[in-house]
Homo-oligomer: 174 residues x 4
Amino acid sequence: MSLFVEKGIAETTVRDIATAAGIAEGTLYRHYPSKEELAWQLFVVNFTAIGATLNELQRAEKTTHAKLGAIIRYFCSVFEQDAVIFNYLFLARHQHMLRLTPRQPNPYLVFRSVIREGMAHGEIPKQDLDVAASMVMGLILQVIDARILGRRIHQGIESLADTLIQATYRVLNI
Amino acid sequence: MSLFVEKGIAETTVRDIATAAGIAEGTLYRHYPSKEELAWQLFVVNFTAIGATLNELQRAEKTTHAKLGAIIRYFCSVFEQDAVIFNYLFLARHQHMLRLTPRQPNPYLVFRSVIREGMAHGEIPKQDLDVAASMVMGLILQVIDARILGRRIHQGIESLADTLIQATYRVLNI
Amino acid sequence: MSLFVEKGIAETTVRDIATAAGIAEGTLYRHYPSKEELAWQLFVVNFTAIGATLNELQRAEKTTHAKLGAIIRYFCSVFEQDAVIFNYLFLARHQHMLRLTPRQPNPYLVFRSVIREGMAHGEIPKQDLDVAASMVMGLILQVIDARILGRRIHQGIESLADTLIQATYRVLNI
Amino acid sequence: MSLFVEKGIAETTVRDIATAAGIAEGTLYRHYPSKEELAWQLFVVNFTAIGATLNELQRAEKTTHAKLGAIIRYFCSVFEQDAVIFNYLFLARHQHMLRLTPRQPNPYLVFRSVIREGMAHGEIPKQDLDVAASMVMGLILQVIDARILGRRIHQGIESLADTLIQATYRVLNI
DNA sequence: AATGAATGAGAATTCATTCAT
DNA sequence: AATGAATGAATTCTCATTCAT
């Protein structure tokens, strides 16, 4: 993933990967049928793992307010701890999005369903669901991206999470 | 740009481009020294053009409120009229960001300076400038991106712009 | 010729030549039908010109001794004055030698015929004609080449010519 | 080397080489990083090998007279046995000469040092060292070259070596 | 199961030559 | 007659994948 993030997927060769992994080029093919499939596995495993965790987190909370807080806080901490995963998922998103099935856990869909339920229960004012979910995802992702790459943002992770949570409440008009 | 957006930059061959352009492969090299440079030119020309237009638009307005409205509205209209340009800029961003000089007009910096001035004039509550600018950019871009790619969002462009403007005001606590 | 000598014939492009000559690429084709033909013309014109001059010089002298002195002295002076020609002829020799007809004036053949006549008149001891001519050509060319390229040899042209003439006499056993 | 000698280095394609070698084009690049580097390796390996052998040969002899005889005789035999190598070194000389370091064994320098020592020991009359060495190299190389390419010289290798040795003694005034 | 040399299709790029202006 | 943009065949080189060891 580091290599894919640093150089881009197409620009990373199988030799690069094998060297970095300390194995022979041919050995890679014992684990993945192709470079393309490796990139996909890396994407889907991490993407769905985060989706699954987010889902558990939101289910553990009662109110929409608390659910949003929990999942945003998790978002911030997981990417603080593993910027490479965040960057990879961010980078590979467009290429792999279409291959995701609706059955697979999906962070975007977790946010979406939390917001949908919030609207259903009257905790969030009625509004276009996908617009709302996109706005929330966007403001969070962009800030994390800026923090990781742009080096502009120097807030601690705790206060950053709080900032994003408050902003999310305001965007959703909670 | 269409080809780059459809297939990805690395996946688009010079032959693809030449064929689509109705010229010979060698002819491309009379206009651009390499495929890489072509991708960069396509990026920088359009990116700075949008940056320059945004800057003019915000200067034509008095209040921060109006400035934000004008530039978000433009964002929505440009993507509506030139979805390919918008997508290309979105796609190529990570690859080319580092090569941009601070002198070149830059949409992100326009948003950032409007927010900075708003805070200076007391029109926007004091907050971390780059976090605020990132949140605003993020919520706008993600929604447009979802509309273009995800096919989830079907609102008309007019009401979408208004939605984004209102969300921006709320995020910034105006 | 400078370009051909500096970079090699294959490595010099028509664009290089046109630029150096201050003309357009297409214009070159008004003067020469191809780059290959240009290289050939450059070779044959200079090669035969030197051959013709050498022939006149040897005819103006009576004795083999004097003939050899005259043509070696000319060799030294012409290359002292135009190192580029020497280098070009030296460089292009192998490529173009086969295309020379026996009718065309040829420096090697002038040396050869002077030596042949010298042997016929008893001025030079009998020996293998082509071996003798090659040895003489070789010792002269290599020294001039070393002087031009290798920068090892710093003798003045006058004394160098004398040295080569004396060496030629000794090699031929005159 | 055969291909380079027959067609010239620039005129020989990687495909030609791979086909002649009975390997795939890509395989060549597992052995040499570029065609250019292949040409250089072919040059330097053979050039220094001959230089090293010449050096051993001259050290095995006591007198300058014997040293010159031994190295010239070797020159004649190596070209007889490996005309392709000889031709290749002759052909590639100008392109690669500048990349040779003074540390690498070098046939020219062997001749030069034998002559220098000969002058130091009074076995060869005092004269300009580099002029003398160039003349000797030139007369030998040109004859061998003529024999290989020009098809003019048909002497047996034994008598040719003797002829060149005697000519060398005369040129050096031994 | 691991290796890494070999493969060969396909990529970017070059450049001698042509030709409309 | 000169120009220089356009051409496209040919070239070098890359690299995902295969396969004998």
